[in-house]
């Protein structure tokens, strides 16, 4: 699988919120997208799945294995969603249906895309629950979201995103809503799963430490534009753009490590 975005531009109500963004994600590749709040990270992610809010228009090109997916009709998109590209959301509290059991929600993409029978779906759900390291998966499958902790819910979110075996996983700030210790566990899980399954990953965050722990290559977005792109190592060592410098400085100021001598 390769994903190739070229001059992706998103307009909402006459405002350009994503401005000529281009990037490539190859098979098994990981790409980070970092930027401040409102820089257009989520809009970039949603554009890839055709999930932009009402009134938003996207132009440019997004090719998935040489097939243009930007502007595909909804029916075609529905076939890609979940099965080629999976998405993990920021807020596990609201991204699960409060009145359906965890098991049913994990089974849903399996049922839609893989057309398995009930029993097979159920054992696949159990398999997925184990994959994302949920404790006591048998019990958990028959629980409702409100009975789970935030970390458990996000594991469920990951299980749903991976259920139909997509080749690309897009995670939009999946750890922002979690405690720091839980954050580390979830990041570790992403790292392990993406490696084990050979899934490509687009990981969105505003946190440099998180970015550093999960990807080696990243885009820096500012007001919808790519301010800088390249290896995370270079970004940390020698941020070229003012926004990257600001992000790096801010991260140093809040981290425990001593700032380097000038």
């Amino acid at each position: 699988m390769t994903l190739r975005a070229r001059d992706l531009t998103v307009n909402i109500g006459g405002r350009t919120v994503v401005d000529a963004v281009s990037f490539d994600v190859a098979d098994g590749d990981r790409l980070g997208i970092i930027g401040e709040s409102g820089s257009g990270k989520s809009m970039t992610a949603l554009a890839m799945l055709g999930l932009l809010p009402d009134g938003a228009t996207a132009t440019g090109s997004i090719r998935l294995d040489d097939r243009e997916i930007l502007g595909l009709p909804d029916r075609e998109l529905a076939r890609l969603r979940g099965s080629r590209i999976g998405m993990v959301f920021q807020e596990p509290r609201t991204s699960l249906n409060p009145i359906r059991t965890i098991g049913r929600q994990i089974m849903e993409p399996v049922r839609i895309h893989q057309r398995l029978g009930r029993a097979e779906c159920r054992s696949r759900a159990l398999e997925l629950a184990k994959l994302v390291a949920l404790n006591d998966p048998e019990t958990l499958l028959s629980r409702y979201p409100h009975q789970l902790s935030g970390g458990q819910r996000q594991r469920v979110g990951i299980a749903i995103a991976l259920a139909a075996e997509p080749q690309l996983l897009i995670a939009d700030e999946p750890t922002t809503a979690l405690d720091v210790t839980i954050q580390a566990e979830i990041l570790e899980l992403f790292d392990r799963l993406v490696d084990a399954l050979g899934t490509s990953l687009i990981f969105i965050t505003h946190d440099l430490a998180v970015l550093q722990s999960i990807v080696a290559r990243a885009l820096v977005l500012e007001r919808g534009q790519v301010a800088e792109s390249g290896s995370v190592e270079d970004l940390l060592r020698a941020p070229a753009s003012p926004i990257a410098r600001r992000i790096v400085d801010a991260a140093r100021a809040t981290s425990w490590q001593k700032p380097e001598a000038p």
């Binding site: 799945l49 959301f89 009145i99 059991t101 849903e108 029993a119 159920r122 048998e138 028959s142 259920a163």
Partner: protein, 291 residues
């Protein structure tokens, strides 16, 4: 490959419901109403429309369980037969209201913005029409009948159901789990049936049970004004309307239809509330291990 999965889950909604006395009361009165209606088709102690001036105003006795009225009808028989009208009116109105409400709510929440706004205005206009006015218009065209009550209450309540559930459907259909469902590949129909409608169902349940209650009361009022069941049809509303002028002399005779109406109305409301509470997993149903 087979994996057996032990079932540990929340207590089912039916078991939860059974433990709620108010809900059970509602269920019992509703079942009682249905039973009375069915029974009255095949049997009533006396002919409910048979009048006999010689035996008017009998007090309750073993012959006339609830006594007789101003024209000598057996009140118990009249009420038994009247339960049929009450049930028809309640169920019929709720069905009409459900259809009208779902159509208005869906059109007013899931369509293009300009269309939604037209629907919103239309709802506001229709809401301003009192049920009574709709009933009067229908009755002037069709004559007074149970159908007039059903359609009038159904339409006016349906508009109200639409008004109340429209923002609710909008809120739910924009919530993140619906977006997450779309991101997982759900089509619009599945999304509606799996995510959106189940999450607005509590609003519908409560609204429709309330509609049934209102319909019973409306039947009383409209019969009183002559837009309801024709004179030949025994109905609770009609009995109450006919007997209310004797309340000073034979108060007990008015108590029976009044009691029947009150209990039925209360029962519908409690049944609706009980069902809503029992079907919402967030209201903390305790867990049971079944296997």
């Amino acid at each position: 490959m087979t994996t057996t999965v032990p079932i540990v889950r929340q207590r089912g909604w039916a078991r939860t419901f059974i433990r709620n006395p108010a809900g059970v009361f509602g269920l019992v009165t509703t079942v009682a109403l249905v039973s009375c209606a069915l029974l009255s088709i095949v049997w009533t102690p006396y002919d409910p429309v048979h009048t006999d001036v010689l035996s008017k105003w009998h007090p309750p006795s073993s012959a006339h369980l609830l006594g007789t009225d101003n024209i000598g009808r057996d009140i118990f028989s009249v009420l038994l037969a009247g339960s049929r009208v009450t049930l028809q009116v309640a169920v019929g109105s709720a069905l009409v209201a459900a259809v009208v409400g779902v159509v208005f709510a869906a059109l007013g929440s899931l369509t293009a913005r300009w269309f939604r706004e037209i629907i919103a205005v239309l709802i506001d206009i229709l809401i301003a029409f009192p049920t009574l006015l709709i009933a009067m218009m229908l009755a002037s065209a069709l004559g007074g009948s149970i159908m007039v009550v059903i359609v009038a209450v159904g339409i006016s309540f349906g508009v109200n159901v639409g008004r109340v559930s429209r923002p609710e459907i909008r809120r739910v259909s924009r919530s993140e789990f619906v977006t997450a469902g779309i991101a997982a590949g759900l089509g619009p129909v599945r999304n509606l049936t799996r995510h959106t409608l189940p999450n607005v169902a509590p609003v519908f349940i409560v609204q429709l049970s309330w509609c049934m209650a209102v319909a019973v009361l409306a039947e009383t009022g409209l019969s009183y004004l002559g837009y309801g069941a024709p004179v030949s049809t025994p109905s609770w509303g009609r009995v109450l309307a006919e007997l209310q002028s004797y309340i000073g002399i034979h108060p007990l005779s008015v108590v029976w239809p009044g009691l029947a109406i009150t209990i039925t109305v209360l029962g519908f409301n409690l049944l609706g509330d009980g069902l809503r509470d029992a079907t919402d997993p967030r209201l903390g149903r305790p867990e049971v291990i079944t296997a």
